[in-house]
């Protein structure tokens, strides 16, 4: 099948959705400029004109309320932010207005809007340019939250998000944009709320989100070479979360490791642990383990960043510890790193 990188897959999805449905429009700070949000919005302004792809003032709060109004009148806005951190300026609109508008009006009000935001590590991005904020949105009833990890999922989930009649927060890790994979050329949807088993296994269940899926798959291969078979599950949609495959897997393996791309405290990993703790009661062979950001704001210097962010190696070491295996020799293993190719900034 044709291979495409994640950014181009997102771009193709936006293009196909805009061609399919004239009510779809894409906007946000920097969206029509020449850099086009990591290339994901490049060419749309030229093709669809300034009414359907446009820049906005630096007014995140206002331009989010704008999406609600347009959605209520039958449009399908896709509001894009180059950093998820900027969503903190929009929480009043997302949490107080958008998430509950349908409920407050009796349940039949379509609020079809997508808030796309880029999360994740570059280098030196620091405390205000690095947050994931998954649980900020998953905690709130009425919002759907998506964090794809492959180009194919990116395209199909974004199409589903745009066509959904509910508000969807769509969080893309910036490094994913360079990842290549097989992507069908035609338009397609991947339904929201369905997890994907990335690798079958029997020794341990590994649930990973966003970029950690890439790291997990990598770790899974290395572990398999030494005879450890982990089952890797990517929830893809963080809310509503497809818990059944996770529960089924844990009942099979008796062990759970959660690799989240966020802080652990009061987060997604706590929620998965709580569900598994209740539903797989008595079948766990040992305590659940979790991997995520260090409990600090994100530092800027590389050495500290490397401690702050988990990666495939962290996963391997944790799995070994859980299974009581001695640490394997990882010298010479080429861990995934964009740092060599990534010249930053944006």
């Amino acid at each position: 099948m044709r291979r495409l990188n994640f950014a181009d897959a997102i771009n193709e999805c936006l293009d196909q959705e805009m061609a399919r449905d004239p009510s779809v429009f894409v906007y946000g700070i920097g969206v029509p400029d020449f850099k086009g949000i990591f290339g994901t919005t490049v060419g749309l302004a030229e093709k669809y004109g300034p009414n359907r792809c446009f820049d906005t003032p630096l007014a995140e709060d206002s331009m989010t309320g704008f999406a609600l109004g347009a959605a209520l009148k039958g449009m399908r806005p896709v509001h894009t932010h180059i950093r998820a951190d900027f969503l903190l300026l929009t929480l009043n609109q997302i949490v107080n207005m958008i998430s509950c508008h349908n409920y407050m009006t009796g349940g039949h009000t379509a609020v079809p809007l997508v808030v796309r935001a880029i999360i994740g590590r570059g280098w030196g991005q620091g405390a205000q340019h690095s947050k994931s904020l998954f649980s900020y949105f998953t905690h709130i009833p009425g919002l759907k939250v998506v964090a794809p990890a492959t180009p194919r999922d990116g395209k199909g989930l974004l199409a589903a998000a745009i066509r959904d009649n509910n508000p969807v927060v769509f969080l893309e890790h910036r490094w994913l944009h360079w990842i290549e994979g097989e992507v069908p050329e035609e338009s397609y949807e991947i339904p929201l709320g369905v997890a994907q088993i990335m690798r079958p296994g029997s020794d341990l269940t590994l649930v990973a989100t966003s970029w950690m899926v890439i790291e997990a798959v990598h770790a899974g291969k290395i572990l398999a070479d030494s005879g450890i078979n982990v089952e890797i599950i990517d929830p893809r949609t963080l809310a509503p979360m497809d818990m059944d495959p996770i529960l089924a897997s844990v009942r099979k393996t008796g062990r759970l490791l959660i690799a989240d791309y966020d802080w652990l405290n009061s987060g997604l990993s706590a929620e998965i642990a709580a569900n598994v703790g209740a539903a797989c009661f008595g079948t766990l062979k040992q305590p659940i383990e979790r991997i995520g950001f260090a409990p600090t704001p994100c530092p800027t210097v590389r050495t500290l960043e490397n401690h702050f962010y988990p990666n495939a190696e962290t996963i391997i070491r944790t799995v070994e510890k859980m299974l009581g295996r001695p640490p394997m020799d990882l010298t010479g293993v080429d861990f995934f790193s964009h740092e060599r190719r990534f010249r930053g900034p944006l």
Partner: protein, 358 residues
């Protein structure tokens, strides 16, 4: 630890007023900011009388500009003041999240320890009745998730007086306090103040000691838990009730020791369950010693929907004494526990013979 500063029975409202008074008296750096700090209602009476004593210039009536005013508080804190910023509905703080999360929570770390942001943000959880989706949220997990913030949910007058004094006079960082409006008119006896289970007034508290089941609760749910425990004590079930009080800094040992003793855990939070404080407590148990549990954890909180306004829906949206007591009895004795239950289907009716308006 005991509650040194509380000399007599005080209502929650009086305790808040006293805490504000003591803070302003202790240091002229303390400034109060809020919509209504200086009007005749004085933030539910918690700032009444302070302008006469300390001068109106220290109680700053603010424009409706939450983001800007939070930034102004941060700037004042950086230049030697101790701001206390009050929002009469916790929901309004969503307008100020950029300043709180991107600036206040990070200022110290981001600059490698060059600065502190000594400041308190008081958020009133607006629940009474009919408040609806935008006036009743309990958003503690949003703050507890963020390193650099201390998040407390005082559930008694003593907790207010002691932890606010600690925040203002000893603590160097930003403290977010959630005050539950249904508690405002309740009077707390000094003798019944929960035991503080740690080194500072922020620490977790034991509301009641017991052996059959651990109840971990927040804010007003700690009062409900105490009432349920009283009811069940007469019927042979002994509850160990822990008021979390500080939801951002949870002492794992306190939880695990109790669960180790009882083998059963019920979490009662004032918010939604998913991705929240109750999930965090489950996580702590799952990660430390899931084998300590004899039964799955039970969690109680708001139904997974925005808050409806109709009383008929609101009463089932929130847990009440009947559902709480039933859940505890079921956890300990099983579905056919045979224990008679209190008949109390509306928490709001109990805590407040509320006839509106706010």
């Amino acid at each position: 630890m005991t509650n040194q500063s509380l000399q007599k029975a005080l209502s929650y409202r009086e305790a808040l007023n006293k805490a504000m008074h003591d803070a302003m008296a202790a240091s002229d750096k303390v400034l109060l900011f809020g919509q209504g700090v200086n009007d005749h209602k004085g933030i539910f009476g918690t700032t009444s009388g302070l302008a006469d004593k300390f001068g109106a210039q220290r109680l700053i009536e603010v424009p409706l500009a939450e983001e800007g005013m939070t930034g102004i508080c941060i700037g004042a804190a950086l230049n030697g003041a101790y701001p206390i910023n009050i929002h009469i509905r916790a929901d309004f703080v969503l307008l100020a999240m950029n300043q709180i999360i991107n600036l206040a929570a990070k200022y110290k770390y981001m600059f490698g320890g060059l600065f502190d942001i000594p400041m308190m943000i008081r958020l009133v959880i607006g629940r009474s009745w009919g408040q609806g989706a935008q006036h009743s949220q309990s958003l503690q997990s949003l703050f507890a998730h963020i390193p650099g913030l201390t998040v407390i949910m005082p559930a008694s007058s003593g907790a207010i007086v002691d932890s606010y004094a600690h925040a203002v006079q000893k603590h160097r960082g930003t403290v977010i306090s959630f005050e539950h409006r249904l508690m405002y008119d309740l009077t707390f006896e000094r003798d019944h103040e929960p035991e503080v289970l740690g080194k500072t007034p922020f620490s977790q508290r034991r509301v009641r000691a017991g052996t059959d089941v651990t109840i971990v609760s927040t804010s007003i749910m700690s009062l409900e838990a105490r009432r349920a425990a009283d009811w069940l004590a007469d019927r042979g079930i002994s509850c160990d009730v822990i008021d979390l009080h500080c939801v951002s800094h949870i002492d794992h040992d306190v939880i695990m020791k109790s669960v180790g003793r009882t083998g059963r855990l019920l979490v009662a939070d004032t918010s939604w369950l998913p991705y929240g404080v109750s999930a965090e407590i489950c996580r702590i148990v799952c990660q430390n010693d899931p084998g300590a549990l004899k039964a799955p954890v039970v969690s109680l909180g708001m139904a997974p929907a925005p808050c409806p306004t109709a009383k008929a829906l609101e009463d089932i949206y929130y847990p009440n004494l009947t559902t709480l007591t039933d859940s505890i009895a079921t956890l300990v004795r099983g579905k056919n526990h045979g224990i008679d239950l209190p008949h109390e289907r509306s928490m709001a009716d109990v805590y407040k013979r509320f006839k509106g308006p706010f």
